[in-house]
């Protein structure tokens, strides 16, 4: 020990250095949740493995069958599964239910896919896109486009030109030849120090080089996202929930012409199926069965009796 380093020297050094940088609480919480999931999966996998090995001991009779079981190779390290493929359209080289491990890449080629992250966030991937799923809250867009419906704030989409951070929202991120572009359908996203809300777009070549513009949160530019949209289970659903789904999937604002119409939508239950209908088409087909009808004009879905 160095005798010269007296208590007052220790005090001076620590004062000189100042406090260590604080860690953002949301970062710590996010990492802790993800690492905890991984740790828990490891613990559970080991428990299962121990159970398998215990079987022949309990049986106490080393039959050939049991020997076969006990001679199984030990389980490989459990991959960290952070997402699952929900829907596939076209010729995407993916299959429904396919698990996606952390850091693995998904390429859609001539098809589209929707992927559900462990936290409930939905990521739809356009054709000819490549996406790397880094963690349950972070994806890297390497080519093409993704449409994100975030289950909570904190999702990040990394692009070669900067990171898009979301604050509870639905948005599309698309890479073009020399820039990235995020269009917000709902909520808020941040790129560098720039924010965009519903109906806004940020185009950027770096977090410091961002151009903001107005865009429509509805219309044909968004249609590809419906191709792999999650199904809406109409059987037994309330009309009001169906209308919310239509609004979410189409980007429309919803207007009820009266409280009576709203109440009717809340009380009425639907039956049947909408198959693969686009949301706006589904609205026009389904609402009349509940004594309601819909008109769509400039991004506003008006519901009348």
């Amino acid at each position: 020990m160095n005798d010269d380093l007296r208590d007052d020297t220790v005090e001076r050094l620590i004062k000189l250095a100042g406090p260590r940088p604080a860690i953002p609480a949301d970062v710590a919480a996010r990492v802790k949740a993800n690492v905890h999931n991984q740790w828990r999966a490891e613990v559970d996998a080991r428990s299962r493995s121990r159970f398998i090995w215990a079987l022949p001991l309990a049986a106490a009779i080393a039959t050939a069958i049991i020997l076969t079981i006990t001679n199984r190779p030990s389980a490989p390290v459990t991959p960290w599964i952070i997402a699952r493929v929900e829907r596939v359209s076209g010729a995407a080289p993916l299959s429904k239910g396919q698990q996606i491990a952390a850091r693995s890449e998904v390429a859609t080629e001539n098809g589209r896919a929707s992927v559900r992250l462990a936290d409930g966030t939905s990521v739809r991937i356009d054709d000819h896109s490549r996406v790397r799923f880094l963690t349950p809250h972070r994806i890297a867009l390497q080519a093409g486009a993704v449409y994100v419906t975030a289950a909570h704030s904190g999702i990040r989409v990394e692009t070669p030109y900067g990171v898009v951070r979301d604050i509870g929202t639905r948005f599309e991120v698309r890479l073009t030849k020399n820039l990235a572009r995020v269009r917000v359908r709902d909520g808020v996203v941040i790129v560098g120090t720039h924010r965009a809300t519903r109906g806004e777009q940020l185009a950027f070549q770096s977090p410091a080089d961002v151009v903001a513009e107005k865009v429509r949160p509805w219309g044909f530019e968004w249609n590809w996202t419906n191709d792999v949209a999650p199904d809406f289970a109409i059987e037994g659903a309330r009309v009001s929930d169906f209308i919310v789904w239509v609004a979410n999937e189409s980007g429309f604002d919803v207007l009820y012409d009266s409280d009576a119409t709203r109440q009717r939508a809340t009380r009425t239950t639907l039956h049947g199926s909408i198959g693969k209908l686009q949301p706006d088409v589904a609205a026009k087909a389904v609402l009349p069965t509940a004594g309601l009808h819909a008109t769509i004009d400039e991004g506003v879905l008006t519901v009348r009796q």
């Binding site: 250095a17 970062v27 905890h36 991984q38």
Partner: protein
């Protein structure tokens, strides 16, 4: 060979599935690892988060390989260094060329033998902060509370939920540990 019995016991509890052990593991190691990564990633917080998460995830998948031959934090920093190198490779950029003292094997060995290790550069502030990060649990905190926040022993005791005598004793141990680690680290850097 020094065996880090406390660390080994903590890892043993984690392998057994003890939730409180996981909390202790995370609360003790996350912040130092994050700052360790942040300094080596040019202050890129996103990258640091990704790297530390990947490092911790790899580590919890390999807990059974931890034998207590190095301090747990030193073992974790090995994963962190690996992930940092991988991050720079993926980003196709060159890491900054700053010298980090705890990347020097002999410094690592000296500090690890003290159940602590660390120091980053010749810059004193970083050196001090790095040493504080690598001290045993609570030591760095109580020293900051005492000397930067100017808390009294009673206030420190209240913050930790312990008695004043225990807090005084903790402060003394923390001061001694800091003195020892800082001296060893500085000598390592300058040698």
């Amino acid at each position: 060979m020094i065996v880090h019995a406390e660390d080994r016991a903590l890892v043993g509890r984690m392998i057994a599935g003890d939730e409180r052990a996981f909390d202790e593991f995370f609360e003790t190691n996350f912040a130092p690892m994050f700052r360790f990564a942040l300094r080596r990633l040019d202050g890129n917080e996103d990258a640091a988060e990704e790297v530390v998460q990947a490092a911790l995830s790899s580590a919890v998948a390999k807990l059974k390989t931890y034998r207590g031959e190095a301090a747990l934090m030193t073992w974790l920093f090995t994963f962190c260094r690996h992930e940092i190198a991988a991050w720079w490779r993926r980003s196709k950029r060159e890491p900054s060329t700053a010298l980090f003292a705890d990347d020097l094997t002999h410094v690592e060995a000296v500090l690890d033998s003290l159940a602590m290790s660390g120091a980053e550069s010749r810059d004193t502030s970083r050196l001090v902060q790095s040493v504080l990060d690598r001290l045993p649990r609570h030591y760095g905190d109580v020293l900051e509370w005492k000397y930067i926040e100017a808390l009294s022993v009673n206030e420190i005791a209240a913050r930790l939920g312990i008695g004043a005598k225990a807090a005084e004793s903790l402060l003394t141990r923390a001061r001694n540990a800091f003195r020892e680690a800082f001296t060893a680290t500085a000598e390592g850097v300058l040698s």
